[in-house]
Symmetry: C2
Subunit: 257 residues, 2 copies
DNA sequence: GCAGTTAGTTTACATCATTCACCAATGTGA
DNA sequence: TCACATTGGTGAATGATGTAAACTAACTGC
C-alpha cells in the first residue's frame, strides 16, 4: 500500500507538493473504498457511482485519478496482489520464527496462509484468479501494473522454493525426461527470474502451483459443493503430497483418524 | 438441446399445442442467440437488449420466457453443461470404438476432450467453472436447473470411473487412512450417486477431478502465461500421473524428447 | 362471435460509464 | 500583489443497461 501512495513523493526532506499531499492520499482512499464495496456487496456492485457516493463525491471526479472503471479495478487488483503477497510473507516469517527456520514449517505455513486468505477473501480471490474479464485485459494493455504485482506474489512462493532447493535439494525430473517444448519454456521462465536451478526444479515449482491453485480455487468457488462441504482434509492431503514431492515430511492432522 | 425444447411436448401423435409450436422453439432460439453473443463479444456484452436486438425483438419480450437476465444466463449455463457432457460422452464413444473398449483410451479421450472443449470455449468455460456470480446464485435458488445439468456433466466422468473400478479395480486408500470428517462426506456423496465402491475410490475420483480442473482452468484463464505459452506438455504429464494413480499405463507423447 | 391467453410492443424509471463545460480554490511567476 | 495556470472537483448530458407496467394484436377454444 505505502509504496503506491508515496510513489510520487520526493526525498523525505522536501516539502511535499500539493499533488503529494492531496492526490496521493486520495487514490488510496478510492481504492480502499472500492475494496470495501467489493467485499460488502460483491463485484457487480463495484460501480464508479457507488464508490463516489460512499466517498461523498461524484462519479466523474474519479476520472481525475483513474482513466476508467477498468483502470481503477486494475489498480485495486494490483493492491490486492501485494497484500496477499505480504500476508504470505508474514506467515512465512512467523513460521520461521516459531520453528527455528524449518523449511517444512515455512512452506506449509505459506500454503495454509494462501488458502486461509483465499477463503476469507472470496470476492478478491475471484478478481485475482477467476475468469479474466476481457474488458479489463484490454484496458490494462500498456502500463500493466497488475503483472508487476502478480509477479511480486509469485516470487513470494518462488523465493521460498528457491531457498528450499538451495538448502535441501530434492530429486527432480532430469532435463532429458522433459518434453523439448516445455524445456524451452521452463528455461525462459527460469532466466526471466534470474535464478539458478535445474529445469526439473522449475517444473516441480509450476507443478506445485497448479495443484495448490486447483485445490484452493475449487474450494473458494464452491465448485466442490456437489460432493464436499468441507474441503480442508482434501487440502491437507494435497499438502502432504506436495511436501513429499519436494522431499519434506508433512503429515496432515488427523482429527478423527 | 432437444430434450429441453421438447420438454413440454406430448406424445408424438398429438397435434402440438400452440405453446409447443411457438414458445418451446423460441426459448431455445433465445438461448442460442445468447450463446452466440457470449462467444462473439464476451460475457459483458450478454445483455437482454443485445439478445433481443439480434432476434428482432424488444428486451421486455424476453421476460415472457425467463424471469430475469440471471435466469436466462442460468439456463444457458445448464445447456452448456449438457453440451460438454455430450461432447465428452461422444469422445468416449469414439475412443471405445477405435480401441475396442480399452479403458485407458476412453479415460484419456475424456480428459483430452475436456481440455479441448475448454480451450475452444473459453467464455463458456468461464461461465461454468469460473468465479460464481453472486447474483446468479441468488436468482437460481429454487428450481436450480444448473445443478441438475452439472450433475449430468459430473456423472459423465463418474460412470466412466465406476466402469473402470468395476472392471479393473486399482489400489485405493483404505477407509482407516481417510480423515473421519472426509470419510463421512465421501460416504454421503457416494450414496447420493447410488454407487457401490469403496470410499478410497470416491476419494481418488475427486482427487483426479481437482487435478484435472486445476490444470485446465489455469490454462484456460491464462493464469499460467507468466511462465508458459503452451501448457499442453504439462497437461500430458498430469494425465500420465492420473493414469498411474488408477493403475493405467499412459505415456505422454514426446514430440522432442 | 366472444372470452381468455399468448407474445409481443411502447413507455417509463433507475442505474450505469463516460464526456463535456464550467467553477472554485490553490499555487506560482512577475 | 496581481495575473494566470493547475488541480480537484460539480452538474448536465448521452447512450447503454435491467426491469416493471400498461397496452395491443393475434390466436385459441367454446
Amino acid at each position: 500500500m505505502a509504496q503506491l501512495a508515496s510513489g510520487h513523493a520526493g526525498q523525505p526532506g522536501e516539502a511535499p507538493s500539493r499533488r503529494d499531499r492531496v492526490r496521493a492520499a486520495t487514490t488510496d482512499e478510492i481504492k480502499l473504498t472500492a475494496r470495501r464495496i467489493l467485499v460488502a456487496d460483491g463485484p457487480d456492485a463495484l460501480s464508479l457511482r457507488a464508490i463516489a457516493r460512499e466517498m461523498g463525491m461524484t462519479a466523474p471526479a474519479l476520472y481525475r485519478y483513474f482513466g476508467s472503471r477498468e483502470d481503477l479495478i486494475g489498480h485495486v487488483i494490483a493492491d490486492i496482489f501485494t497484500e496477499i503477497a505480504g500476508d504470505i510473507q508474514a506467515a512465512i516469517g512467523r513460521a520461521a520464527a516459531t520453528s527455528g527456520g524449518d523449511m517444512t514449517h515455512k512452506l506449509v505455513a505459506a500454503c495454509h496462509e494462501f488458502r486461509r486468505w483465499s477463503l476469507d477473501h472470496r470476492p478478491e480471490f475471484g478478481l485475482l484468479f477467476g475468469s479474466p474479464l476481457p474488458d479489463l485485459e484490454a484496458a490494462l494493455d500498456g502500463d500493466d501494473v497488475i503483472a508487476a504485482c502478480a509477479m511480486k506474489f509469485a516470487s513470494t512462493f518462488f523465493t521460498l522454493f528457491l531457498d528450499l532447493w538451495q538448502h535441501h535439494p530434492f530429486p527432480v525430473r532430469p532435463d532429458s525426461e522433459i518434453d523439448q517444448g516445455l524445456r524451452d519454456q521452463l528455461a525462459r521462465y527460469r532466466d526471466s527470474l534470474g535464478a539458478e536451478l535445474p529445469l526439473g526444479a522449475v517444473f516441480t515449482f509450476l507443478w506445485c502451483w497448479v495443484r495448490l491453485y486447483g485445490m484452493v480455487s475449487l474450494e473458494v468457488f464452491g465448485h466442490l459443493h456437489f460432493a464436499l462441504d468441507d474441503a480442508a482434509p482434501m487440502f491437507e492431503y494435497t499438502l502432504s503430497e506436495l511436501a513429499a514431492m519436494v522431499g519434506l515430511p508433512y503429515l496432515p492432522p488427523a482429527p478423527g483418524a
